[in-house]
Symmetry: C2
Amino acid sequence: MQIWYTIVVRRLTFGDMMIQRVQWVRQSLEELISQHRPGDRLPSEESLAKTLDVSRATVRSALIALEQEGRIVRRHGLGTFVAQQRPLVRASLHHLSSVADIVRDNGYRAEVKGIDILPVTLHHPVASSLGCEDGDPGYRVTRTVYADGTPAVYLVDYLPEKFGDQIIDLRGYSDRMLSYLRSFGIVVDYAITQLSLGRAFEESAQALNISVGDPVLLLTQVAYTALQVPVVYSLGIHREGYVTYSILRHTDARKD
Amino acid sequence: MQIWYTIVVRRLTFGDMMIQRVQWVRQSLEELISQHRPGDRLPSEESLAKTLDVSRATVRSALIALEQEGRIVRRHGLGTFVAQQRPLVRASLHHLSSVADIVRDNGYRAEVKGIDILPVTLHHPVASSLGCEDGDPGYRVTRTVYADGTPAVYLVDYLPEKFGDQIIDLRGYSDRMLSYLRSFGIVVDYAITQLSLGRAFEESAQALNISVGDPVLLLTQVAYTALQVPVVYSLGIHREGYVTYSILRHTDARKD
């Protein structure tokens, strides 16, 4: 429970020069990219390092940053290419709405493909999160949300077969789970969502057209009615580079 | 702006059997892990597939899931090992507090190491986020937060040199940025935070003892005073498997 600190304070030094240099390399590469079209191959790391008179490590660091932002694509043994402009969907974490709506609200074409509804038995941690017994019957609903033609988010929802005495027939479900449940009088009021870094499994990798083990942004969510009855357990598996979530965080300052 | 849907509804089928089987394989592996100690090697994928009478793909899928949860470690060519229990820090995204405090509140020993304060010039997007001119002088403060001895989060803060007429001397800074700024009368009230999936750069990779390009959970944050004056631009680079953030999300249901 202890907190330990170590501290180093430096004046303007070699390190500062290095950071200025990295920024300059970054700007030079951005300029180079802006002069090319998507799919064009950029000069090699070695060639860029020579041209800019910096180390290959510095060039590589800048290229990784640009790759992360979706500006370039690096293919081992093939080289570095200017990327297609990919959509970057921004969503507020405060508000709970359908992923398709979020994609559309960002100005992209949204498609929901491969909706698949399957009766399953519910196990831990899904069963306990939904207030069911282990082995209770339920549904597993999967689908992929495309943004401008690219699979961006793979969604897996688990629902119990019954809410109280009411049996849910999901065969009429077509897209938005929350709207569909409302047609049965089940109104989701809020959800508790966990955000973490995950990895793509075979199923999600296939749906998102990525490799098994590729990193994904994972939203694990339980949605509740206003009476705090759990309704849906969801996994939102977000392909890298497509979605960023924003949130407002408050400090304790107002308590003073 | 259109939304398209495709749908497949299935009855209890082969797919259901497959999912039951995956769950059963998963439970069997959990049982196996519980019978071993951290560092023990588990049987090979092939051997597990034979024992459980399922395909290697099914075993691999379950192993990836267990690896993602930090239960096992898979090393190519070496095999699968039972993982050390690693801390999993849970934090609320609603509340803005120091990472060291978050780690400590989760019951882990928190250490802040390698605090480094460097004068820099501020550039886009940091300068514009802080309401500065491009090239204005500022500080770059970096440090690593350890949870139970393991580097979990690498933090990079950018601050302008001056807030209005006030020059900030960061040499007295020892750990919590927000507390330190309050000692100058600069009270952070809230922050706007973006969460996304990122990749480790050389600097953050070194600090977190991971490889360049490894996936990280990235929090990009601008902190403001109650008068909406931006104070700090921060990057929180979170090592995989250590931190999960939770949040409460509301639907539109209450508007009706």
